[in-house]
Symmetry: C2
Subunit: 250 residues, 2 copies
């Protein structure tokens, strides 16, 4: 008999912002797989289960292990923070299934991804169209990432940056700032959220001019406003549409 594989997004970290389905999926599983950091966030759900913790950059290995256990009849949950489909484990698992022509029951359990968690803590920066870009160049050439930043800046998209900076990758965020400044005012609001809804949660609202790229790291989500975004009472607000139209409707 075949088992089942759950790809579970547990949200930003605090249990409050996890969905009921995510908790249930972990409870229903025989085996729980994930980064040590994420497993710690759901520690209380793990008693009596087989737990396979692993370090960073072992996505394919983890996908393979989880799939094999599920094919062998186990219920297996792979845990990601945020949403499993956004730079999480979901595509690694489906790619593995496709490459090996395997069939398996898979349920993706969506979660609050960091773009949404960061936005909620910043106010309403995502009130209009936005682009989500990861600055990690481990799997995508930097040239392609830079091209996307350029086009998103040109289109006046609000820009959400995942993995904005690491110790090894220290100049790219400064380059992003330069590119966006070619298209938007210096006073454009920028929000940095570190450890959203976790211990050490820090929220900073600044501007393209003032922002210090060195303050960001791999635990930071960064949101750059559109040309219409503004700050009021410490919050970043991107209007849904043109102010004049809104006012007409008030």
């Amino acid at each position: 008999m075949q088992g089942k594989l759950y790809l579970v997004g547990i949200g930003p970290g605090s249990r409050e912002h996890t969905t009921r389905r995510a908790v249930e999926a972990i409870r229903e599983s025989d085996v729980v797989v994930g980064y040590t950091t994420y497993l710690r966030l759901v520690e209380d759900l793990l008693s009596g289960k087989e737990v396979l913790a692993s370090g960073m950059r072992r996505e394919v290995e983890r996908a393979r292990q989880a799939v094999e256990l599920a094919l062998g009849g186990k219920k297996v949950a792979i845990v990601s923070s945020g949403d499993s489909g956004i730079y999480g484990m979901a595509s690694a698992v489906f790619e593995y299934l496709a490459e090996n022509r395997l069939e398996l029951e898979v349920e993706v359990v969506p979660g609050v991804t960091s773009a949404l968690a960061a936005a909620a803590l910043l106010g309403a920066p995502l009130g209009n169209d936005f682009a989500v870009i990861s600055l990690s160049d481990l799997l995508v050439p930097w040239q392609e990432i830079e091209r996307r930043v350029e086009l998103a800046a040109e289109g006046d998209f609000v820009i959400v940056l995942y993995n904005p900076r690491s110790s090894r990758r220290d100049w790219q965020l400064g380059r992003v700032r330069e590119i966006v400044l070619e298209h938007r005012p210096q006073a454009t609001p920028v929000g940095l959220v570190r450890n959203a809804y976790r211990d050490g949660c820090a929220v900073e609202v600044t501007t393209l001019r003032e922002m210090n790229p060195a303050k960001a790291d791999m635990l930071t989500t960064l949101i750059i406003g559109s040309s219409r975004s503004f700050v009021y009472a410490g919050r970043i607000i991107t209007p849904r549409g043109y102010r004049s139209k809104y006012s007409m409707r008030g």
Copy 2:
């Protein structure tokens, strides 16, 4: 004494995909405000509360009412489906506060927005950078929307479309298809999800060539894959990076 305003995203609709914080925020409130459709999804939480239901296109009026009640000392929850910050009520409320120079305690409670709900039901279409665009031209001129579609297509972003089509707005999605076809193969996967995680939930996987714009409506979220997205076993998968690199790491 001032009250508090919660901007609550209840997720796609089924209670399973609502966060605990969203349920708590509604429970803690004296007054609950929202579209009739969304209030129906949380009906069981409303007993003993003042409920202000309203129809579509009354965002500013609802924002004003809710803010005034909270300034008067009530705890007020404004309920949106998905996430309140994504084409929801959050920016309308903060704009209203800013325009009237008001100060109020506001908590945004993030939720699973339809991009994430649709993606989970489709597989892993958001495995790489993506752009979120609303095709509604009520508050944004069509010209600007079309320009964003053009740039997102050029940048090979996965494209998520909210409000892809209404009875009044019947040609825009066909135009989007044409634009994307200038940049991507005819076989590019397209997913349509209607009523994600609600009664009548329907998931369709098709291609840019085959897609029929007339099948989409205001309850549909549409996801157009990047040039690297592919379909396996009825699922849309966008690889996180270049296949060769992934395999090297396996």
